[in-house]
């Protein structure tokens, strides 16, 4: 599974992307976030305030209840501020 981070989430995690192989009990975005929080203190800090964390699976906006599977590209980022 390929993870991507943008804006301050990228800065807090410390990398723009990483490949992970989550355990089989990680079935949705919420489960993936719980798994990532335990990965490092930087991840725990980045995912500390979930009200300002948005997610896209395979480059489409989704909610935290969306399923994730091996091979997915999962991106985490703050609410968008373009335009």
């Amino acid at each position: 599974m390929r993870l991507r981070y943008f804006a301050w989430l990228r800065q807090r995690v410390g990398v723009a992307a990483e490949e992970i192989d989550p355990p089989p009990d990680v079935r949705d975005v919420a489960g993936l976030i719980a798994h990532l929080r335990a990965r490092s203190p930087r991840h725990a800090e980045a995912f500390g305030e979930l009200a300002v964390v948005k997610v896209a699976v395979n480059q489409t906006h989704v909610g935290f209840d969306h399923p994730v599977a091996p091979g997915d590209e999962v991106a985490f980022f703050p609410p968008v501020t373009g335009g």
Binding site: R4, A7, Q59, T60, H61, F77, T81, G82, G83
Partner: protein
């Protein structure tokens, strides 16, 4: 339909001319150009860097464009959005809509900007005069502006 995400500047006049070139069914063209402001939250802004999600950005803009075409009779739509470092006065974004009549062009142009601001994966990092850099927070007003286009019928 033209959707482009680029680092370089664009020429609004040339984009408008290209959107309607050779057509006789367009009676109205509306356009919006967003610029970098030199002030934000009472502070002087020295520069702004726009980060984006290559790949998803283009897809999301195309989805928004398709939504607009489904709602209004549009002959042409152009969306150009820049990324990278810009200074106050620089152009950031262009939306051009062309239709037979003005109301569809005006409404589709406003809709595209409102949806773009809440859905297209761009993030602004502002540099202030004292050298600090801060990510711009999303505004509730932008969510409200996008929500007014919710389909209720």
């Amino acid at each position: 339909m033209v959707v482009r995400v680029q680092e370089t500047d664009f020429d609004p006049g040339a984009e408008i001319a290209a959107a309607t070139a050779g057509r006789e069914d367009v009676g109205a063209v509306a356009s919006f150009v967003g610029l970098v402001r030199g002030e934000g939250g009472g502070r002087r802004i020295r520069a702004m860097t726009l980060e984006h999600y290559p790949g998803m950005t283009e897809q999301e803009l195309e989805r928004i464009e398709a939504e607009a075409r489904g709602r209004w009779p549009l002959q042409a739509v152009t969306i150009v959005h820049r990324y990278g470092r810009m200074v106050p006065g620089d152009r950031i974004v262009l939306v051009v809509t062309a239709s037979a009549h003005r109301q569809a062009a005006f409404d589709a142009c406003a809709f595209l900007m409102d949806w773009l601001k809440t859905k297209a994966p761009f993030w602004k990092l502002e540099e202030t005069d004292d050298g600090a850099a801060e990510w711009v927070a999303a505004k509730a007003a932008d969510d409200a502006a996008a929500d007014r286009w919710a389909v209720t019928r």
